[in-house]
Amino acid sequence: MAVKVDDIAVPVPAEIAEEAPPSGTTLVLRKMWQLRLGVFGGLLVLMLVFAAVFAPYVATHDPFEQDILERLTPPVFLEGGSWEHWLGTDQLGRDVYSRVVYGTRVSLTIGICAVLVSAAIGCILGLLAGFFGGWIDGVVDFGVNAMLAFPFILLAMTLVIALGASAQNIVIALGLSNWPIFARVARIETRKLREQDFVVAVRAQGLSNARIIFKHILNNLAAAILVIATVEVARSIIRETFLSFLGLGVQPPTPSWGLMVSEGRAYILTVWWLSTIPGAAIFLSCLGINLVGDGLRDLMDPRLRKA
């Protein structure tokens, strides 16, 4: 049987031929779908920031108001719970939901400030070490190694004990213990950048070292540092809550998630949700922040996707 040329179906790339170039909105939507986990994380973070900034409006009760008659009422999804205190009340009859909302302020502020401190120290040291090399590089490298050998949590605890337990001192303790990761990345990246043509070019133009470092090299470092900083905010929040859990953090009656988990632990056998709810708040915030960090990394360096 002979085959006629007409019988052979020629695949017409119809969708290619007919599709109009995607509009700006389509492109944005497509990108958002690609980064859907990051977008989800971004929404979580937005909620977090909103709760922190507008805490008095988001909360339903005064976080310090005690009502001993209403103590340890279960959340609304359990028997005996009511919408009056929809996440229940703690051992002093304070509204758990409102305390979680106000706790956002403590955790976010401490987390972000601690990362700012460590990023500043780490970036300056890393830039100097990577750019100048020589003995500066040796000293910074040695310092990074020494810090990494120091059990982080013990260092932070020791610093808090030495300085006294307060929100400000936790920021200092976490900031001072966590700079090596920034220093290491800044140092390696600066070393690579230093050899690149554009740096050689601006140097040939006679720019001062300070200007090259803080304008040209720092600009190119910013993306990598931002990604690490995002993830480190989540880790700092976890560390802050652990210090508070041990009683070395912000002091009662300030609503802090770690403190709430710790206080609820005494009642763990009977009212399991008292520790679990603030813990879930820590978990969701860190999940959101980590997802944003992953999304940022994908956006800035697609090669690293899901690696």
């Binding site: 120091f150 982080f152 809550t241 860190c286």
Partner: protein
């Protein structure tokens, strides 16, 4: 190779001294032992006498040198201010439980990370791959102390399968070990997965497949061996973090190890014991880092010439 190891070793010894000095400075110089140990009504003369007796009136560097000499020559870490026994005795009792916990966690994490990482890389974008990524995301965001409490509630209080605290039998080890394992699991899984993905796309794997080598052999012998290198290095490097995680885990489960000893000692201001734990932890971390460096250089000769 010998010069490489010698160089690393000297570096490690230097790091050990710096760490011990910083902690010594923080603990003994900023904290005031006199106010910790003397009764509240002690007057200035008492405090001065006390400081003279314990050599606390001498310059910081002299005190530190004296302390390190005793540690290095006699293994004498000083006497606990609270328990009134030598700090090294307390350390000796708490060392094994911590090592047991750390080793169990490391084994659990490795046994889970390797198969999950391989499957996830081989069946990319499959259900298992997505599940693996989900596990990574969840455990990364989960505070250890909270996970410990949740596990206690579920398996200790509700199901009553496992004891919630204590350290009498192997059953007591299960929950703390899983909690601590969850701390290093995400990174290990990511490493195995990305390592396998990278290796599998290389020419020699295609050659092996083209030769007709069985897929199982390709994966296990050709791919996994090379994909394991970053895992080996990171296992050494993250040992310090593992000990840090042990501090958290031991506190939640009342596990009688070094971490809980350190936390209790910090709370009571028992500085000789804290100082001893810090030095022991730093020592372990440095040895683990060194071992990882040497292992990496041994597996991959290119590293030595960097």
């Amino acid at each position: 190779m010998t010069t490489y190891i010698t160089h690393k070793l000297l570096h490690a010894i230097g790091v050990c001294f710096v760490v011990s000095f910083i902690s010594f400075f923080l603990l003994f110089y900023t904290g005031d032992p006199a106010s910790m140990l003397l009764p509240e009504n002690a007057d200035d003369a008492d405090i001065a006498l006390f400081k003279e007796q314990y050599g606390l009136d001498r310059p910081l560097l002299v005190q530190y040198g004296d302390y390190m000499a005793r540690v290095l020559l006699n293994g004498d870490f000083g006497v606990s201010w609270v328990a009134k026994v030598p700090a090294e005795t307390l350390i000796g009792v708490a060392l094994w439980p911590t090592l047991k916990l750390a080793i169990a966690a490391q084994i659990i994490a490795t046994l889970l990370a390797i198969p999950l990482g391989i499957i996830s890389a081989v069946k990319r974008y499959s259900l298992i791959d997505n599940a693996t990524i989900l596990i990574v995301l969840i455990f990364q965001a989960m505070p250890l102390f909270w996970l410990g409490i949740v596990l206690i509630v579920i398996f200790g209080v509700w199901l009553k399968w496992l004891p919630a605290s204590g350290s009498e039998s192997w059953k007591n080890l299960v929950l703390p070990a899983f909690t601590l394992a969850s701390f290093i699991l995400p990174l290990n899984m990511r490493l195995v997965r990305s390592g396998m993905l990278e290796v599998l796309s290389q020419d020699y794997i295609r050659t092996a497949r083209a030769k007709g080598v069985e897929e199982r052999v390709v994966l296990m012998r050709h791919a996994l061996r090379n994909a394991m290198i970053p895992l080996v290095t990171v296992t050494g490097i993250q040992f310090g973090a593992l000990l840090g995680g042990a501090v958290v885990t031991e506190t939640v489960f009342s596990w009688p190890g070094l971490g809980r000893l350190a936390v209790d000692s910090i709370r009571f201001g028992d500085f000789p014991v804290v100082q001893a734990v810090v030095i022991i932890f730093a020592g372990f971390t440095i040895v683990a880092n060194l071992a990882a460096d040497v292992a990496a250089a041994w597996i991959d000769p290119r590293i030595r010439f960097d």
